[in-house]
Amino acid sequence: MSGYKDLAQRDSCFRPGSTLCPGCMEATAFQNIGRASDNGKKTVFTIGTSCAEVSTLAFPDVVAWGRGDAPPDTWGKSFSILHNVFESAPTLAESVRDVADVLAEHGALTHPVQVLATSGDGGALSIGLRALLHTIHRGSRVTIVVLVNEIFANTGFQYSPATTPFAETSTTPVGPNVQGNPRPPLDYIHLAIAAGAAMVAQVSPSHGKLFVRTMERSLACEEGTAIVFVPAPCISGWKFDDGQAIHLGEMGAQTGVYPAFVWERGKGGSVKDCDLDPAQRPPLENFLGLQRRFHHLVMRKPEGSGFTARPGREDDLVQFKAWTQKNVERLYKLAEMT
């Protein structure tokens, strides 16, 4: 596994010039994945329609992908990317993997190839759940990265199956009759394990070393599909202040909303930086209070630091905390599975 110094010296395949929102966690994730994948293997990314696509593959003005300022002289450093419709990224990656394998089996391709699929949670868990689960089920040796910003950010911050309870989105607005998203999110980590993934993780660049290490492990995974869910605080959709993305990534994990989790088939896994005991975790209100999508639930404490439930919303916050605790307990149980 690489140290930061080594990593910093690598060529990221994510280049300057994307039009992602300033402060977007996806850009940070791509920058690190881009460096982690500079490992001498030929790299192919596939990408479903998402923020990540429309903001990085805009022809001819911004194509924010590729290694180096000019096409590399060594094929192993070369990089290709393929975009197709929202749900397609896992299947695209699987097909590239298959072709590379068939060519290798014939002796027509002698160099190693790594294939990585990228989707948003809308593309992977809503319209693309079928594609995601079946690629995993077929054991394709690809790495799938799902950038989970809990909304369809690309189309204007609508509800997705990964939306946190009570979150306000443009299709679960807050009003007298509705208090944001009424449903708990899809248990996508459990689904990925049940579908047969060889490695399942949930980690954001807020946990820098763990993120890079996890990406390197996923790219080296030979036993089947490795899938990494990357919590991706969305500055425009979650409505938080500039410069808070890394902090929110960390707080969301520590409060139990999206705990860092790494699991490998046959080895089990662990929950990182999130205590099973809720009393040992930072107050959930302090995570929610930084985001305007939860301002109907919490407010700044009148006496100063921290956040508290808005009058009349105490029961909702109790419910939210109960879901969070279930979420953490569930991940601890999944970690025990081998």
């Binding site: 096409p71 002796g107 391709l109």
Partner: protein, 459 residues
């Protein structure tokens, strides 16, 4: 041979193209070609149905090594045949890839074809299966991936009511997907068409995916004699037309596919797509002629013809009367195997009616061979277009035929008919009834803008 790490560290020659860099030595397809396990080593007459004929043709291509599929009636036997032949051949390194839905198959085709643009990736589907692919077939049509071939086994497209028999409403609903669409009829034409399609789609000036098709049940499920060619000759023919793709793939290139563009650049992409498709009109006859020269059977053509001018027409023939050549009274435009029934009764109808009757069975559907059809039909007084797919107006074919004739100073009268919907047989009685209907227009009567015929009756 270098080790993987040595190879990775070694600089490799690369060259710049309009779509990125190509590393010419990254992939060497010679071992793939050498590993091809032949289906046939000599010309042989076998008995096969249409799906089997199509599957055998695809299996004979050395460039086809991975076959993604998902079953749907009436195309299912294509993937079953491919699977069983691969399973039964210990020397074969080809693979069947079973996906979870047609949409996944289409996505798989995108990734596979983009990964290596010098291999051929093919599947078969039908009806709502093709519809399910639509989101991605639209991408494919514009992708430049001429190494994709989707075999469409025609079947009516609807589930209210569901009908599993073959009418071409599926393929005709996909005219704007951007594929080269060719209709085949009869086992032999199906087989021959499959062999020629990649030559067209992968031509460097075309680079457009292909969608050969044939009627479900009528052609897909009925067996007959089929002449199969040895794999060696099949591949020699394809090698003549298919060279290394001039643009990079994902594996041998440093490139990006499927960019996001503004409307300003969208125009350029679409213009280029259309230009490439138009080149088909020039190349198709040349490929067809080469096929005929090599194999002694008619190759690809815009349409099949019956009853038009012959080299030495005898006095007394329908074409000549009193030493003068007669114009065609009724020209039929149709497609598919039911056209054979018309061919069978054309001469008797000419004798009984005293009219001169000719016809064309469309083969190239997209791009529509507008100029060639106009030239062929310009001599006719009335054109009877037989549509076999539901359409909100006068029929898909009718619209194209009317458009093709619109440049003529005095275009023939176009009479539009629907028959054989849902794959129903178009009987001799129905053909006669439709020809009588066209005759009314010939005699100066007004006829309905379109009419539906079935079992000898106008409904």
């Amino acid at each position: 041979m270098k080790t993987a790490s040595e190879a990775l560290e070694a600089p490799q020659a690369h060259r710049t193209t309009a779509a990125g860099e190509i590393y010419d030595r990254a992939i060497d397809l010679a071992p793939v070609r050498a590993a091809h396990s032949a289906q046939y080593t000599a010309r042989e007459e076998i008995v096969a149905d249409g799906n089997t004929a199509a599957a055998i043709a695809t299996l004979q291509m050395w460039r086809a090594v991975v076959f993604p599929g998902f079953p749907i009636t009436p195309s299912t036997k294509w993937i079953e045949t491919v699977a069983s032949r691969i399973a039964g051949d210990p020397k074969s390194k080809k693979r069947v890839k079973l996906l979870e839905a047609e949409h996944a198959v289409a996505d798989y085709l995108v990734g596979a074809a983009a990964a290596c643009r010098d291999l051929i990736f093919s599947t078969a589907t039908s009806s709502v299966g093709l519809d399910h692919m639509t989101e991605t077939t639209r991408s494919l049509g514009a992708s430049g991936l001429g190494n994709v071939m989707i075999v469409d086994v025609y079947r009516a497209t609807a589930n209210f009511p569901l009908c599993i028999e073959g009418d071409p409403s599926d393929t005709l609903a996909h005219r704007d997907d951007g594929f080269i669409q060719v209709c085949a009829r009869g086992k032999q034409q199906i087989y021959d068409t499959m062999l020629q399609m990649p030559c067209l789609g992968m031509h460097p000036e075309v680079l457009t995916p292909t969608m050969p098709g044939y009627y479900g049940i009528k052609d897909s499920h009925k067996s007959g004699k089929l002449m199969v060619e040895p794999d060696h000759d099949v591949n020699a023919f394809q090698d003549e037309w298919i060279g290394p793709c001039p643009l990079p793939g994902l594996l041998n290139g440093d490139t990006a596919f499927g960019n996001c563009v503004t409307s300003r650049h969208f125009q350029g992409f679409k213009w280029s797509q259309k230009q490439r498709l138009e080149r088909v009109l020039d190349l198709l006859p040349a490929i067809g002629a080469d096929f005929e020269k090599r194999f002694g059977r008619p190759g690809l053509a815009y349409f099949d013809e019956v009853g038009w001018a012959v080299d030495s027409p005898g006095e007394g023939s329908a074409e000549w009367q009193g030493g003068e050549r007669r114009r065609v009274d009724i020209a039929v435009v149709g497609m598919g195997p039911d056209f054979g029934t018309f061919e069978f009764l054309r001469e008797p109808y000419e004798k009984s009616s005293g009219l001169r009757v000719a016809g064309v069975a469309m083969r190239l559907l997209t791009p529509f061979p507008r100029a060639a059809l106009r030239e062929r039909l310009s001599d006719a007084k009335v054109v009877l277009v037989v549509n076999q797919a539901h359409h909100y107006g006068r029929g898909h074919l009718t619209l194209d035929v009317v458009d093709a004739l619109s440049d003529l100073d005095q275009p023939p009268i176009v009479v539009s008919a629907f028959a054989g919907l849902g794959g129903a047989n178009v009987s001799e009685e129905t053909w006669e009834r439709m020809l009588d209907h066209a005759k009314l227009a010939l005699d100066g009567h007004r006829v309905a803008s379109s009419a539906l015929f079935h079992e000898g009756e106008a409904l």
